[in-house]
């Protein structure tokens, strides 16, 4: 296990950022978009994720070792330390934990967040602000190569499908019931997958989703497990599917089938599903862009538009007092005049013959 670290490099200056907050959950979702767990409206990107996590709400009763042991269940912990400077609730402590891998941090966040721990409730969040430039670079590279691998494997899968398209298939009912079993085992427990794959061993294995750290040729069980962890980030998918599975198990013969066909029908009829940018919309976009471009041009006063936030105008110092500000402005104006005057007027004209007294 890693040793605790104090004040080395990036491990200093804890800041309180907005993404540490637990957002209020959204309660106005319609049934079909409702997940198993109440969630806030938030978009996850790779920028928000990190192998650094912060654990808040740890009871201040000397359970650091236990906490780190718990974390280590989800992957190698490289470093950790209490964040004494971080504002904590009464009788609780805040810890910073650096995992070796992002996938471990993901799993830890998913399994530990909002779970009780020695009488307290943990809040686990990613803290990407502790990353070094190199950490950030590697995180992005990993993600990119993972997605590219996924795309490649998907292409292979499609080819395989084309090749085996003529294979005979069993009846629909068998397929659906099998799938329900698969889903449930998969959602409840990862180990269920192992038996599941052996169950299908007669058939060519389903091309596995590519993994961030393991290639598909390694053990299948492991891969599936990681894949499950990936689900953290799109709870909506698993939740939604779980819900669907549940409803289909409860009333499989009647309403579910109807619902499904209704849906399909509606979508096929109108084919409105696909997003088609309306003409007006496109024009709007164009107009807005032109406006923005104009503004930028006039603002910078140059042909090159200025992007991003600007540096502060040095002259806009606020003295928080009206009369002081007035004085300041007068001084500023005088200075400007003086500056421009010296620039424009040649010194020679100012010379007056000196009188001697």
């Amino acid at each position: 296990m890693a040793a605790p670290v104090n004040n080395s490099g990036c491990w200093s200056v804890p800041g309180v950022y907005k993404h540490h907050e637990q957002r209020t959950v959204c309660i106005s979702r319609p049934k079909y978009r409702e997940g198993r767990k109440a969630k806030a409206v938030k978009v996850y990107t790779i920028n928000l994720e990190s192998r650094y996590v912060m654990v808040q709400g740890v009871p201040a009763i000397g359970v650091m070792t236990e906490l780190i042991q718990l974390c280590a269940l989800y992957g190698t912990v490289e470093e950790y330390r209490p964040l004494d400077e971080y504002p904590a609730e009464e009788f609780t402590e805040v810890y910073l934990v650096k995992f070796q891998k992002l996938t471990s941090a993901r799993a830890a966040k998913r399994r530990m967040d909002e779970k009780s721990f020695y009488g307290g409730v943990l809040h686990v969040c990613y803290v990407p602000e502790y990353e070094t430039v190199e950490d950030t670079r590697l995180k992005l590279q990993d993600r990119r190569s993972y997605v590219i691998r996924a795309a490649r494997n998907r292409a292979k899968e499609i080819e395989q499908q084309k090749a085996t398209n003529e294979e005979p298939a069993s009846s629909d009912t068998a397929t659906t019931s099998d799938k329900i079993i698969t889903r449930q085992t998969c959602d409840d427990d990862n180990t269920g997958e192992a038996s599941n794959t052996s169950h299908y061993s007669r058939f060519p294995p389903l091309p596995l989703p590519p993994q961030e750290h393991f290639y598909r040729h390694k053990s299948q069980h492991r891969i599936i497990e990681t894949e499950d962890k990936m689900g953290t980030l799109h709870n909506a998918i698993t939740n939604r599917e779980q819900e669907r599975v549940q409803s289909s198990t409860s009333n499989l013969p009647s309403s579910n089938g109807e619902k499904g066909s209704e849906l399909r029908l509606a979508l096929n009829q109108a084919s409105v599903g696909r997003f088609v940018p309306r003409n007006t919309h496109l024009e709007n976009r164009k107009r807005k862009m032109e406006e923005v471009a104009e503004q930028l041009e006039t603002k910078s006063g140059q042909n090159e538009p200025l992007i991003g936030p600007k540096l502060p105008d040095p002259s806009k110092l606020d003295m928080e007092d009206e009369s002081l500000n007035t004085t300041l402005n007068q001084i500023r104006n005088t200075m400007k005049q003086v500056a421009s005057a010296t620039d424009v007027k040649p010194v020679g004209t100012k010379l007056k013959p000196r009188r001697r007294i």
């Binding site: 990036c10 907005k18 993404h19 959204c26 106005s28 979702r29 978009r33 409206v41 978009v43 996850y44 990107t45 790779i46 920028n47 928000l48 602000e129 430039v133 950030t136 670079r137 992005l140 993600r143 993972y146 997605v147 590219i148 996924a150 795309a151 998907r154 499908q161 294979e167 298939a169 069993s170 068998a174 397929t175 799938k179 299908y200 058939f203 060519p204 389903l206 989703p209 799109h234 909506a236 939604r240 669907r244 849906l263 979508l267 409105v272 599903g273 696909r274 997003f275 088609v276 940018p277 976009r285 862009m289 090159e304 200025l306 992007i307 991003g308 936030p309 540096l311 502060p312 040095p314």
Partner: protein, 192 residues
């Protein structure tokens, strides 16, 4: 049989995504739109959904959000593009829809999350043919200012951009252009 169940699972997913897109287009509720948009953007994180989202032209949907007045729309749309642009095919679609200028405008956003998504997306969009547009001096100058920011996330990401996406000569040139214009102290940052 395995293949079949894989296929029908896919079509189920496709239908669900299609329902989301339809709701997004049909609803007048700003709140519902935000929720659906966030949903779609999160689905874009999973590579399995990329091809469905491409087929549903969600790339255009996200791009359209970038010029909305509602800052949540912009943030979620930009987040969705950040997720999608990791995929080479989606990247090409964004490039074809002249996404670079729309995304570049997001660098001026007041929201840090939007700015971060925009930077990552621009890095993802870098190809031999788009390179010159993405390393425009104005963008490099913006990144140079970000690299002095007080926010570690913004600072780091801008540093990665400057180190990985452009040449040292380009950075030096941009630095020179910046000098004399302004001093690099106390840059106002995205607010939250």
């Amino acid at each position: 049989m395995m293949k079949r169940s894989g296929l029908s699972e896919g079509s189920e997913r496709f239908e669900y995504l299609q329902t989301l897109v339809t709701e997004f287009q049909d609803t007048d509720s700003e709140e519902a739109k935000e929720q659906v948009l966030a949903n779609l953007a999160n689905f874009a994180y999973d590579p399995k959904n990329m091809e469905y989202l491409r087929e549903l032209q969600v790339t255009d949907l996200f791009l359209d959000m970038l010029t909305e007045e509602n800052v949540n729309f912009v943030e979620f749309g930009m987040g969705g593009l950040c997720n999608l642009s990791m995929d080479p095919e989606c990247r090409d679609i964004i490039l074809q829809s002249s996404g670079i200028s729309l995304i570049t405008n997001c660098l001026s956003s007041q929201r840090e999350e939007t700015v971060l998504s925009a930077i990552t997306t621009l890095m993802n969009l870098t190809t031999p043919s788009s390179h010159s547009q993405i390393t425009d001096p104005a963008i490099l100058q913006c990144m140079l200012r970000f690299s002095l920011s007080e926010s570690p996330r913004l600072r780091n990401l801008a540093a990665v951009f400057l180190q990985d996406c452009c040449t040292k000569e380009q950075v030096a040139e941009a630095q020179q252009q910046m000098q004399g214009q302004q001093t690099a102290v106390g840059i106002p940052l995205p607010k939250d």
